[in-house]
């Protein structure tokens, strides 16, 4: 009853068989296949959300094309990475972000500047 990746053997488009890769989200391992985005690995494994909005709501993928920023998380210590735009590499460490989540590297040096630009 969730999002999932089609197994290659059942896929009418006949993709090659899997080359498994494993990433972690807050320490929990998720396995996908090489060539997926981080969001693709998580959704493909049935994980729908990973971020907490300022009001406490759960967020995952919404636009899927890098526009909405719902899917951001910290990847290998860099914060605010759009998981739908980032190819997964075996061993990637994803840490969820939100008001209460730890913010490992939110120093001026790594914080994207776009938020300030609009006002």
């Amino acid at each position: 009853m969730v999002s999932r990746r089609m197994p290659p053997a059942a896929d009418p488009t006949r993709p090659p068989s899997d080359v498994p890769i494993t990433i972690t989200l807050d320490g929990t391992p998720y396995t996908g296949t090489a060539g997926q985005t981080l969001a693709g690995v998580l959704l493909g494994a049935g994980r729908l959300s990973w971020r907490t909005s300022p009001g406490g709501a759960s967020r995952g993928v919404f636009c899927g094309i890098g526009v909405c920023f719902d899917c951001i998380a910290t990847v290998n210590d860099a914060c605010d990475v759009r998981l739908c735009q980032r190819r997964a590499v075996d061993g990637d460490r994803v840490v969820s972000q939100g008001l209460d989540a730890p913010l490992p590297l939110r120093s001026a040096g790594t914080r994207p500047a776009h938020g300030v630009a609009d006002v």
């Binding site: 969730v2 488009t13 776009h114």
Partner: protein, 459 residues
């Protein structure tokens, strides 16, 4: 020999690049995504390419030919994974100064790319416009484009029982991809009513017959639906999504011709995902930053040769109007030829006219009608980034005089997406109340993509 930079490698950008090569130019085409193809030909990466991927695409063979041509052409440079974050107008001979960063999305260290082309073709496309409804921010609600991108480029179905809703023929494409990815589509709910559909699609059939390619595409979707017996409900919308921590059911209702919910027609349908799209919003920020004039209906203004109001800058594809792949492709071809100083064949102009007629039908049949705000409740989230509810925006009516003031007092549109997702909705809500003065829009974004302060500091 002129040098032409094309930003965006979707149908418009790829055709622009190819035609500019035909006309003898030195061409660079760049795209933020690490694969070319844009939204229409979003596909699996090479090391995971499927033997029969063509099943998921229209025009797959011509896409492959275009792609190989550009990748192998000695006068062409294809820069993927290269995101433009700013454009400045340029005075000394170049069309603009284009600042980009190249490397994995969001990585701490990306490579700076600065380009000052003689001619610039903007082909940055569009993103889905999703009208909010109660529960649209629950996990399991996706834009139809996301469902499409995940199906085509990941082979991931967003759910097992999926309802597709919104407006436009794109819903049919999404349903078809979901089925090809193993999902069950429980229904396609089109907001436009039967009479709007008839007016848009059945009037002047001789005009439609000339966009044969489009018709075959639609016919393929429709027969696919029949085969899978998917209910297609015209004049219907999802007005709420409910569930405990994720979508478990949606409430659908009939709409009147202005998209107002009709009382006592509601029913609940059990689903585990919803894919929603009410149309598309052009990605205007780079064009605005380059100084291009924008039309009253909020597209980049272009003349018959796809030239913008800035000398040396052209625009093509969904930036100049929403009409699907074929219109994007032909506009791209014209822009590419013109940018490279080539001669534009009459057939291309005729093809563009045919496709534009199709786009007008699309808007007439499926364009957003004002009654939809009736399905909002005070606590319905409008701005997903900052969790601003509808109630907060309607309260600002008397107190605020401008969009800017409303944004500052509620924070709507000031979150990470810079108002891309909610901007036009916020404008529409404020415009429906008499308090809003001023003509500012939410389209200006001087920084078009996130840049880390560290990346600035290295300059």
């Amino acid at each position: 020999m002129s040098d032409v930079l094309v930003i965006g490698a979707g149908p418009a950008g790829l055709h622009a690049a190819s035609r500019a090569l035909d006309a003898g130019a030195e061409v660079t085409v760049l795209d933020a995504h690490d694969l070319v193809g844009g939204q229409f030909w979003r596909h699996l990466p090479d090391d995971r390419a499927a033997a029969d991927e063509a099943q998921l695409h229209h025009g797959w063979k011509s896409f492959q030919q275009l792609r190989v041509r550009l990748e192998e052409h000695p006068r062409c440079r294809v820069l993927t994974g290269t995101e433009v974050w700013a454009i400045e107008p340029e005075e000394h001979g170049a069309a603009a100064r284009v600042h980009a960063l190249s490397g994995p999305s969001g990585a701490l260290r990306r490579e700076e790319v600065l380009l000052t082309p003689e001619r610039l073709v903007l082909a940055t496309g569009a993103h889905d416009r999703v009208l909010p409804f109660p529960g649209w921010d629950l996990p399991g609600v996706f834009s139809a484009g996301a469902a499409q991108a995940l199906a085509k480029a990941e082979r991931v179905a967003v759910g097992e029982r999926v309802l597709v809703a919104g407006a436009g023929p794109f819903l049919l494409a999404t349903a078809a991809s979901l089925i090809a990815t193993g999902a069950t589509v429980v229904g396609v709910h089109e907001a436009a009513g039967p009479s709007a559909l008839c007016r848009g699609w059945l009037s002047r059939p001789w005009e439609l017959a000339s966009s044969a390619r489009k018709l075959t595409e639609l016919a393929a979707y429709v027969t696919g639906h029949l085969r899978h017996r998917i209910p297609y409900v015209a004049g219907s919308a999802v007005i709420a999504a409910e569930g405990n921590g994720r979508v478990e059911s949606v409430r659908v209702t009939r709409l009147d011709r202005d998209w107002r919910p009709v009382a006592r027609t509601e029913r609940d349908i059990a689903v585990d995902a919803v894919a929603v799209s009410h149309g598309f919003t052009p990605r205007l920020e780079l064009a605005i930053a380059a100084g291009c004039a924008i039309t009253a209906d909020r597209f980049v203004a272009v003349d018959a040769r796809q030239a913008t109001t800035v000398p040396g800058v052209y625009a093509a594809g969904e930036l100049t109007g929403i009409g699907g792949m074929a219109l994007s492709a032909v506009e791209g071809a014209i822009a590419g030829l013109e940018a490279a100083g080539g001669v534009i064949p009459r057939q291309l102009l005729a093809e563009r006219a045919r496709q534009r007629a199709f786009a007008i039908r699309l808007e007439r049949a499926h364009g957003i009608r004002p009654g939809w705000t009736d399905w909002l409740c005070d606590d319905t989230t409008i701005c997903r980034c900052e969790d601003v509810p509808f109630g907060a925006l309607s309260l600002t009516e008397g107190a605020t005089q401008s969009l800017r003031a409303a944004k500052l007092s509620t924070r709507a549109g000031l979150g990470s997406c810079q108002g891309r997702t909610c901007g036009r909705t916020v404008e529409e809500i404020l415009r429906q109340s008499p308090g809003l003065l001023g003509t500012t829009t939410t389209d200006q974004r001087p920084i078009a993509a996130p840049v880390r302060l560290g990346e600035f500091a290295r300059e």
